[in-house]
């Protein structure tokens, strides 16, 4: 694209980005991306995790400085994204997924947190302020009590308060409102309410950049949709006339090479793990079995239940009803020690909170679940322990293979391998692996996956709970997709493909 075409100020564009590139050490997060948000439109930004959406937002908000050669215009004015003025920054408002409200303060107090505009000790007229807030809420067509405590509001009301706070009274000067996954915490009716509010704001002349995973909702609310994949522009689509299926194929890309599906184990294998009508907060009647030699994937959108199933199996989360049968033994409640005793070991997704103790060495972490194993003649036999640990570090290819190093001095990939080693050391027949390759570089991810495949070939029953469709496609014989706490569908063999998985996770037709 030549420079001359973009030099003419485009009055209708609220924000315009050209040749936007952002490189981090060892990784290009955004590669020559262009984005145009027309004045008065609702523009959606979609793409998979890691496609560059959040980097783009952070560049817009001035958090990341883009590489040289990127150019940007705000309301037709050329600007330098690396050094935006206060006023330019103020013309874009951001609402992040966590909303950044203070839950213990009232609506009114939240709205006035930053913008009291008075001295620190200047007295204020509570009554007058309340009237102002009421007026402000009315302009957004909202009925929220200014005195209500934010923590007690419904998820929609919280989102609305965050929006009102972001916009303040001055919707005229605002070029763009950016919303990042605003409906993640909302139910269907609340999403409708939020859309009504967004359309109302849009009607006041505010352009909106809407970032979301929920494609059905995106098609409902947006005028146009930009798709990112691997840090590059794929296309800009008109929402009208686009189907969810078309959108997904653009998000996933047709250039995905099909991994060879793993050969399924024979049908006569023993079922080592049977989950039977599991119920609990966020889980409804979950049942499935896993046979020896089989890798079964669990996936879904964040919060849809698949991650909770893995936690229940690890003994980390109590369940209200149903049972877990491990090698024929039936458990109606499961704590970590009984799970291990029954021959089931787990690798949690939360490395920091559940997986590893940061102040411990590699060896101390690795042997923790059965630290008594090397206790002889009244003390822990360090030499035996070290030899055992070295063996497991070799099996799982941990670098450096140093048992005495503190675990937090290893890279994420190697920490992940230590967690796997810790589980394998317990000699389990059933393995429950949650996000086994999250935040891990490509090399480490490949070696972890190779290990998982080998373990299955050796007759382990393996559950992989993952949000990474590529990983599931590569590893699993079957994949169960959860939606709203239930297993919504099961894919086998050739049906397990990246676009099919993305579709099944995000499909909302049934609701």
């Amino acid at each position: 694209m030549s420079q001359t075409t973009v030099q003419s100020p485009q009055a209708e564009a609220s924000v315009r980005l050209e040749h936007l590139t952002k490189t981090f050490p060892g990784q290009r997060a955004l590669d020559d991306v262009s984005l145009e948000i027309r004045r008065g439109e609702i523009h959606a930004l979609v793409g998979q995790n890691g496609s560059g959406k959040s980097t783009l937002i952070k560049v817009l908000s001035g958090f990341h400085k883009p590489d040289d050669g990127s150019s940007a215009w705000l309301s037709g004015e050329p600007v330098d994204l690396g050094g935006l003025s206060e006023q330019q920054l103020a013309s874009m408002r951001f609402i992040h997924q966590d909303l950044a409200l203070v839950p213990t303060l009232s609506v009114q107090e939240n709205l006035h947190l930053a913008s009291s505009g008075r001295g620190l000790f200047a007295p204020f007229d509570r009554r007058k302020e309340r009237a102002e807030v009421r007026e402000l809420l009315k302009t957004f067509d909202l009925e929220v009590d200014p005195d209500a405590i934010v923590g007690e509001l419904s998820p929609f009301e919280k989102a609305a308060v965050a929006i009102v706070r972001a916009l303040g009274g001055a919707s005229d000067d605002i070029a763009l409102l950016v919303l990042d996954e605003p409906t993640a915490a909302l139910g269907a009716t609340e999403t409708e309410q939020l859309f009504r509010t967004l359309r109302h704001i849009n009607g006041l002349g505010v352009s909106i950049l809407y970032v979301s995973h929920f494609l059905g909702e995106v098609l409902q609310i947006a005028d146009r949709i930009s798709v990112l994949r691997n840090g590059r522009n794929v296309c800009v689509l008109e929402a009208e006339g686009t189907t969810e299926q078309q959108l997904i194929s653009r998000i996933v890309g047709s250039d995905v090479e099909k991994a060879t599906p793993p050969t399924p184990p024979g049908a006569d294998r023993d079922v080592l793990l049977q989950v039977d009508g599991l119920r609990g907060p966020g889980l409804t009647d979950v049942s499935f079995g896993v046979a020896a030699g089989e890798v079964v994937g669990l996936t879904g959108l964040m919060g849809s239940g698949y991650e909770k199933i893995a936690e229940c199996l690890a003994g980390a989360r109590p369940f209200d009803g149903g049972a877990v049968v491990v090698q024929g033994v039936r458990f109606t409640r499961l704590d970590p020690a009984t799970a291990v005793g029954a021959g089931m070991a787990a690798m949690p997704a939360d490395r920091r909170g559940l997986g590893l103790i940061p102040t411990f060495t590699v060896a101390e972490n690795l042997v923790l679940p059965d630290v008594g194993r090397n206790f002889r003649r009244g003390r822990i036999d360090r030499r035996a322990e070290e030899a055992e640990v070295r063996h497991w570090l070799e099996v799982c290819d941990v670098q450096p293979p140093d048992p005495e190093r503190r675990i937090d001095q290893l890279s994420g990939g190697n920490q992940q391998k230590v967690m796997l080693a810790k589980a394998l050391r317990l000699d389990p027949k059933v393995l429950v692996l949650a996000e086994p390759t999250q935040a891990v570089d490509i090399g480490a991810a490949a070696s972890i996956r190779r290990l998982i495949t080998e373990l299955a070939e050796r007759g382990h029953a393996i559950v992989v709970a993952s949000s990474d469709p590529e990983e599931l496609e590569e590893l699993c014989h079957r994949v169960l997709v959860t939606r709203r706490g239930r297993i919504a569908c099961e894919l086998r063999g050739d049906d397990i493909s990246e676009d099919r998985l993305v579709f099944e996770c995000q499909f909302e037709g049934a609701l």
Partner: protein
């Protein structure tokens, strides 16, 4: 790739190197790292202090002074060791002061007014201490109250109990035979020094050499991680409180024997030195971990520092200043140690390690 667990069986054979004649170079290489100033800076500092005070004053370097320090600090060392167990389990125990005070009164009362035999009185007192520990433990694990707040509360309740039990009167008439457990000497060394030695050996063994100790540290390092690894963390936390309180009441009993009365004023003055020693100790021997030898070293290091200053004519407020500054310095120091360690390895670690920055080994770990 072998993946069963034969490794454990074959390990000792492959790892046990054939015995060689002692060679000095190898020996140095093996123990060298543990003599590094990074690990035992406190030992070098202690030596330095002793040399300095010996030269600066005429009275410091004498058996009397050394004996005084050893004896006076035995009680602090004992309380601090108990506290170290609680800190290792990741909880604060501020009630050790009140526990000590109440134990002191209860033991005195049982012997002086109740006419009970010393052995029985000591056992009963320790039982009271253990009970206080159980209450602390239940408050923290079952009622889920932050340990800092819970033990701050129980401490105040214990102060009230001291008042009620003693009727705010010091208790006199302690049997002379009982006082011998603190006053007697063996080979010129006062008995309390042996108590410190015995207790530290016992606690070191349990905390450093047994699975129980490892699980205790795991509970303190990451309670959920430990729980998922099958550690009954609730029991470990309660157990840690029980140990800390029982040992504090043992110290309270020793105070009665030392001063010969049940005093209503005992306890509070030991709280800060115990915490200072615990945190300063966590920078020694095994940096980043509360450990018994570190605690004991820190107690004597602080005491030597204070004693020397007093002999040089320092005012009465100096010990408080010294201990307070040491506590702050120790916590600051462990933070620096931690950060230095991370940057030291960052280049070869490839991608940034993600575990460290929020969970500190000695300070942050002990807050919940």
């Amino acid at each position: 790739m072998p993946q069963q667990t034969e490794a454990a069986a074959t390990a000792p054979v492959s790892a046990g190197s054939p015995r060689r004649a002692p060679d000095l170079g190898g020996l140095l290489a093996r123990i060298g790292p543990s003599l590094s100033p990074r690990k035992i800076s406190g030992v070098y500092l202690l030596i330095l202090l002793i040399v300095f005070y010996s030269l600066a004053t005429s009275t410091f370097f004498s058996t009397t002074t050394l004996r005084t320090i050893a004896t006076e600090q035995a009680i602090t060392a004992i309380v601090a060791m108990g506290l170290t167990i609680a800190l290792a389990a990741g909880v604060f125990d501020l009630s050790i002061a009140g526990t000590m005070g109440l134990a002191n009164i209860v033991a005195a009362k049982l012997m002086a007014d109740g006419g009970m035999s010393p052995v029985l009185a000591i056992l009963l007192t320790l039982l009271v201490g253990a009970g206080i520990g159980v209450i602390n433990g239940l408050l923290v694990t079952k009622a889920r109250i932050d340990p800092f707040i819970a033990t701050l509360g129980t401490n105040s309740i214990l102060l009230a109990a001291i008042f009620v039990v003693s009727n705010n009167q010091n208790i006199l008439g302690i049997p002379a035979g009982f006082q011998k457990i603190a006053g007697n000497q063996v080979a010129g060394i006062p008995l309390p020094v042996f108590y410190v030695l015995g207790l530290s050996l016992l606690l070191w063994y349990v905390m450093a050499c047994t699975p129980l100790g490892r699980r205790l540290y795991a509970t303190g390092g990451g309670r959920e991680v430990a729980r998922l690894a099958g550690v009954p963390t609730t029991r470990y936390v309660i157990g840690a409180f029980v140990c800390s309180a029982t040992i504090a009441s043992l110290a309270g009993v020793l105070v009665v024997a030392t001063i010969g009365t049940g005093s209503t004023e005992v306890g509070a003055s030991y709280l800060l030195p115990a915490f200072a020693a615990g945190f300063l100790g966590a920078t020694q021997f095994k940096p980043g971990r509360f450990n018994i030898w570190g605690t004991v070293l820190a107690v004597y290091l602080l005491a030597t520092g204070v004693k020397g200053l007093v002999l040089m004519g320092a005012d009465v407020w100096v010990p408080d200043l010294f201990n307070g500054a040491a506590l702050i310095l120790a916590v600051g120091l462990s933070g620096i140690q931690r950060r230095a360690k991370v940057t030291e390895v960052a280049p070869e670690a490839g991608e940034p390690a993600t575990l460290d920055d929020t969970v500190g080994p000695s300070t942050a770990g002990a807050t919940r």
